[in-house]
Subunit: 204 residues, 2 copies
């Protein structure tokens, strides 16, 4: 629905704003706006203020750079977490994904991306210096690199590995292999090859 006659500037503006969201076209935007229009004023206020407050009041944890309501996030300030292990991730979605597995009780370090010369992202654009500092100034025994299994992720892994070479810390990388319920015949050669090379003892 290109440049529709909206007969209302207010409607047109709201649809324009929604259309700027990724993956939201003008038709979806109109549908969402008309949905909001049918809600109570309180409901719509809650929606718009939640978004505006988030952008203005949200903080990033001083320690791990995860999103937070306070200066230090709820994970870093939790005394029950293992403060000697740091899991390095690309972004806050990765923190959520790992938290959901309930397999990790250490702390995180959010880089804010990976090194990508193509996109002009260098090490100084990421929270790598603060990671190195954090490892040196704290009693850290292990750094787990949990970046994307891509060329950029591998480059970043290697860069961090070199930067931490003189630190007395174990550096590990999350396992790569066939995913749960994957069909072997459709798994790419690199992944399948690695899964054989990095095979683990069978646990009964």
């Amino acid at each position: 629905m290109q440049s529709p006659d909206f007969s209302s500037q207010l409607l047109s503006q709201a649809v324009d704003e929604f259309s700027k969201l990724p993956g939201v076209g003008p038709k979806t935007a109109l549908r969402l706006v008309l949905h909001l229009l049918r809600q109570d004023v309180e409901q719509v206020d809650a929606f718009s203020s939640a978004i505006s407050r988030l952008r203005k009041e949200v903080k990033y944890c001083e320690v791990c750079h995860n999103i937070s309501d306070n200066d230090v996030c709820s994970i870093c300030s939790n005394p029950k977490r293992d403060a000697s292990t740091i899991c390095v991730v690309e972004n806050i979605q990765d923190v959520m994904a790992i938290e959901k597995t309930q397999s990790f009780r250490g702390l995180y370090h959010v880089l804010g991306g990976v090194i990508s010369p193509m996109e002009g992202i260098g090490p100084s654009d990421l929270q790598i210096a603060s990671l190195v500092e954090r490892v040196h100034n704290n009693d850290i025994t292990e750094v787990i690199l949990a970046l994307s299994p891509t060329m950029e992720g591998d480059t970043t892994n290697f860069y961090i590995f070199r930067k931490l070479a003189d630190a007395d810390v174990t550096i590990s990388v999350i396992a790569r292999g066939v995913a749960q319920n994957d069909e072997l015949q459709y798994t790419d050669e690199v992944t399948l090859g690695r899964s054989i090379i990095n095979r683990t003892p069978f646990k009964k």
Copy 2:
């Protein structure tokens, strides 16, 4: 992503609000919220205020009940439109769709739905009384019924037809038939049957 640990109440609230939109699940909501989080404060303010203003300030045209910034909408107040023809539609999206065809120069009447006993929508929940009044009090020569080609639409058509029986006005229904680029073999029987019964003279 059920009940994820968001480590931020503000983030969690914003994602909750987005998740209430139709067709937006928690993963999409998170993606949209994180997108907004990366925008400038001004940009996010424009987004949230456009929505809040729309809900609070938008009006509905006193004449045709279309969405409007003023008491009378830009279509009803346009002297170039043919004020003797009224096209009856279900909702404001239908007004936009018909406006986009540029095939209609008359005015509209937005019912706000169709009669649906199943959903508890009766004639008094719709703008039918105001349509009848409008037809009687103005110099209207034709009422075009452009409702959905469904049982509810047909019921509403018939109800309006009866209500306008004593008015000196032509009542017509938009043509039903095979759509542009439809394949005949996949067209349903009712539509195909009607398209033969209601065939029109071939224009050279």
